[in-house]
């Protein structure tokens, strides 16, 4: 059996013993709904992660009018916002929760693991959303 044929046999074995789970395909299909056409994107400009896991992750995002600084520690996300007020919406691929912004600060607890992003609204009503980050 030549190498190409052998690899085909292996590919068939992988399809049988380690196929892409149906749930992974469903989640991938659903991901398109997370598009944010309406919002201005606040891009990640700074990230400071501790290499060894423990300790907070600090991140800074900027759009034209808004800055969002985050400190993520376990399932707690603390944020400092400039250029926006009202509430911050803490979004994950499966959930969204609004928390009040008080004097620029907000805090969200029990944030699920995985990706998270923050949506805020400027004083003139423009929605701004940060890039996704892994908590």
């Amino acid at each position: 059996m030549n190498d190409d044929d052998f690899l085909d046999v292996l590919r068939a074995a992988a399809d049988e013993f380690d196929p892409v789970p149906a749930g992974v395909l469903r989640d991938a299909s659903a991901a398109l709904a997370l598009r944010t056409l309406d919002a201005e994107l606040a891009e990640l400009v700074e990230e400071e992660a501790l290499v060894r896991g423990d300790g907070p992750l600090t991140l800074a995002f900027e759009s034209a009018r808004v800055t969002v600084s985050l400190e993520i520690s376990d399932d707690v996300v603390r944020g400092l916002v400039t250029g926006a007020e009202g509430e911050a919406v803490v979004e994950t691929p499966r959930s969204r929760r609004a928390v009040p912004i008080t004097d620029g600060w907000f805090i969200a607890t029990e944030v699920p693991p995985g990706l998270v992003r923050i949506r805020v609204t400027t004083s003139d009503g423009t929605p701004v959303v940060t890039q996704w980050v892994r908590r």
Partner: protein, 184 residues
């Protein structure tokens, strides 16, 4: 539709175009996550994060004709980030034994099943470097070497020779071709 057209349509919100991309590349992304020995949950996480990053970048993909490369690179970053966060770099050797149980109830005749099961077990015991490369090459549909190179951060020119060496090693481990020659 070709890949750039699918990307453009998906960026306009065309779900069927997006689903075509998902069908085309999910096998590759899953294989990359498994190449890095991620668990079921972490592999699912890495793949989903890769798709979400693509959604975020849909209208900013510089070279949509090279989407497979973009996805491969992004998947590698996601996998390494997950491994780093859980303090699992480099990959622990004990996970080698952690191969999944064979899925039940497939319409294969018993003998073929036994051969495939044996082959899969032996494959899972390959040294990490070989197992990693072969697992990505086993993706359906078969990936281009350029994308494999991005997924594993290896020079593209090294893939052919290492592939040959690793398949040779696997054939030797399977032993005497008894399992394999009958398949050809």
């Amino acid at each position: 539709m070709d890949i750039p057209a699918l990307v453009a349509a998906a960026a306009r919100g065309d779900q069927s175009a997006w689903d075509a991309l998902v069908r085309q590349f999910s096998g590759l992304l899953w294989s990359i996550a498994r190449a890095y020995r991620l668990s079921d949950a972490d592999a699912a996480d890495a793949v989903q994060c890769t798709w979400i990053k693509l959604v975020e970048h849909l209208d900013r993909i510089a070279e949509p004709e090279r989407l497979a490369g973009w996805l491969s690179t992004t998947a590698r970053h996601e996998c390494l980030q997950l491994l780093r966060r859980s303090g699992r770099l480099p990959e622990p050797a004990e996970e080698i034994a952690d191969s999944p149980d064979p899925a039940p109830g497939v319409d294969h005749e018993l003998l073929t099943r036994e051969r495939d099961t044996a082959l899969w077990r032996v494959f899972e015991e390959l040294p990490d470097r070989c197992r990693r490369l072969l697992r990505v090459l086993m993706a359906s549909p078969p990936p281009a070497y350029a994308d494999v190179a991005l997924a594993l951060d290896m020079p593209v020119g090294s893939i052919g020779p290492i592939r040959q060496r690793c398949l040779g090693k696997l054939k030797a481990l399977v032993g005497g071709n008894e399992l394999l020659e009958e398949r050809s």
